[in-house]
Structures are given as C-alpha cells and as structure tokens.
Symmetry: C2
Subunit: 208 residues, 2 copies
C-alpha cells in the first residue's frame, strides 16, 4: 500500500517537474490540501473522504493535514468556503423592492450554481449533506442562522420562517434536479427562462 502510494506521488511529482518525495509545508500547501479536499468531498461526499486520501492526493503527509486542520469537520468547513459569504448574500438580496424579492433570490442562487467553481462547491455540499447526518446538521444550522433568520426578520410576519424555508425547498429542489439528477428539460433550459418560471413561485411563498 505504502509503496504504491509513494510511487504514485513520485510519478505525479516527476510529471509536474517537482522534486519527488514528501514536500515540506510551503506557503501553498494549505491551499493544495483544500483543493484536494474539495475535489474529494465533491466526488465522494463527506463519508467517502478520508484525511489520508486527501493527503495522498495533495502529495503531502497526513500529519501535515492534521497540522493545518484539527478534524475532517474543520477540513470540510474550510474547503467548502462558499463561493460567496451567505451573510453578504442575505444583505444583498434584502436590498430592493419587496415585490422583486423572489426574483433577486432566484437570480443570486442560480448565479452561484452557474459558475463552474460555485457549482463544484455546491455539489460537494449537497452530496455531503445527503451522505452524512453530521454534515446535514452543520448545514441545517448554517442555513438557519445565516439565511433563514435574517430574511425572516425582514419579512416581519408571524409565519416568516416557514415562508423562507419553503423558498429553500424550491431552491434545493432546482439545484438537485438541474445539476445533480440532470433531469430534462429542467437541466437544459436557459437559466433566464428558469428564473422567469421560478421567481413568481418564490415571491408567492414570501408575500402571498
């Protein structure tokens, strides 16, 4: 096992012109670990990812991964660093006419998913949420505190949290169907038309 790993690493290092063997913790090492972790979480989910495999993929020793990140949880949170800060998104979405709130939410959400980097990160999150109860709990808390609570407060109606979480169901559903299941014609419809179809529905959930 160790021999196989070592030769894989050596081959990779040779191909990229690096000196073979374990690299020391340089300035870009943390970034390379995060990149490898992101790829693994995206492809294999939370449960299918191990620190050892991430270390191998990044070409470093597992101890070095532990030096930078206390646990797989921490590695996940750091590597998942959302393409945009959810609190900034909430603030941006809440600025503007209330009757266009649904439109702003859908445009912002699909905007993240339509960028290749954003899509890779969001897919990793979704895959990990589904395969691990622990990650589901993490995401549940994150969504509630960073998005549902502030948007609900702005709505200022008694059932605001239910309204906002119904919007979340529609957004999660479109992400699952378009980007993960790739069900047609939702997967192949131009994003502008999707926004036109979905925005009135999210607006309805929020203010009707």
């Amino acid at each position: 096992m160790t021999g196989r790993r070592a030769s894989a690493r050596t081959a990779g290092a040779a191909a990229s012109g690096r000196t073979p063997g374990r690299r020391p913790g340089g300035p870009d090492t943390r970034g390379e670990i995060l990149r490898a972790a992101r790829e693994s979480f995206a492809g294999k989910g939370f449960s299918g990812t191990s620190i050892r495999a991430v270390a191998r993929e990044a070409g470093v020793d597992a101890a070095l991964v532990h030096h930078y990140f206390d646990s797989k949880d921490e590695l996940f949170i750091e590597s998942m660093a959302l393409p945009i800060d959810p609190r900034q998104v909430a603030a941006r979405v809440l600025t503007g006419p209330r009757e266009e709130l649904g439109h702003r939410i859908v445009t912002t959400f699909l905007g993240v998913w339509e960028s290749p980097d954003g899509q890779q990160r969001m897919k990793a999150i979704l895959r990990s949420v589904v395969s691990s109860d622990e990650v589901a709990r993490l995401m549940r808390e994150g969504i509630t505190q960073m998005i549902i609570a502030p948007v609900a407060e702005t709505l200022g109606v008694p059932d605001a949290k239910l309204r906002v979480s119904l919007v979340a169901t529609q957004l999660i559903g479109i992400a699952m169907t378009r980007y993960l299941i790739e069900l047609d014609p939702v997967a192949s419809t131009p994003v502008a038309e999707l926004v036109d179809r979905i925005a009135p529905v999210t607006q309805h959930y929020l203010t009707n």
Copy 2:
C-alpha cells in the same frame, strides 16, 4: 473478520430462536435480503452498500445474494420496488378536475413520504441518486418515462414537459428539506398545512 461475522450471525440467530449457522435459501430468504438491502441503501446510499454487508445483515452467505441478484444494480432496483407503481400514480393523479391537479400531485407525493415504509424506500433512492451517477441515470429515465411523459401528454401544451419537470423540482426539494436535511420549520409543519402551501405553486407551474 470471518470469525466476527460468524459470531454476530450466531448471536443474531440465537436471539431470534433460529438455528445458528448459514441458513439455506428458504422461501423468505430473498425477502430478507431485500429488507437488509433496503435498510443499507437508505442509511448508506448506493456507494456505501456492498453485497457482502447486505449478506451479513441478512444472515446469509454472499454467494446466496449473488444467486438471487446478478449485481448490486439489480439488488438496488429490486429492493427499491417503489411502494406504489408510478404508472398507477400517474393515472390516479390525472383523474379529476384540472384545477386541482397540483393538489392531487402534492397529496399523493407527501402521502408516500409520510408512510414509514415509503419514507425509507424514498430516502434510499434519494441518497443513492446523489452518490451514484449510474443510479441518477436510472432515476432520470424512470421519472421521464413513467411520470413526466404521461402527465405532460395530458396537459397537452407545447411546454408541458418543462412545466411537469418544474413540479418535480418542487417535490424533490420538499423531500430533501423535510425528510433528509430536516430543516425547520418545514420538517415540523403538519403535512396538511404543507399541502395547502405547496399545492397552489405546483398548480401554477402546470396551468398558469
């Protein structure tokens, strides 16, 4: 490894009053394998499930699982046998006033998810779709042929398939949010209120 498995099986057999040791392929063996497979797919998804582990859980030899099911794919399809036949569901949903179509779809869908057996099977499907591209492809074809096509044909408008697949996004999203992520307040809202909130939206997608 083999020793641990054997004693676990013996303990299980003793606890249930069965004769210890490998059981022969009796009339209920296939059913017990399917039950064990369903549990594993629901908890660990498609990738996290192995024929060996299913055999262990069912208290039989892995060769016996292979005797009944050619592959993990086949075991999945058989064990996932939907709680209800999708074609019958489509037919039932399509019978009745068109302006209540959205309501009938949401009631039927949530009805399946609210039954414990249905929920376990649907969770297994959702988890497996997310963790395996192969299962995602199977589901995509199944949903398209058995549900989207007949419902779209009944609608009889040019963009019918897009309309029906948008309904699918909302249904998949409510399932993910309520039963897998368990995000509140969607997770704790009585099902009748959820139907009242979501039915107008699915109706809007279909006929507005």
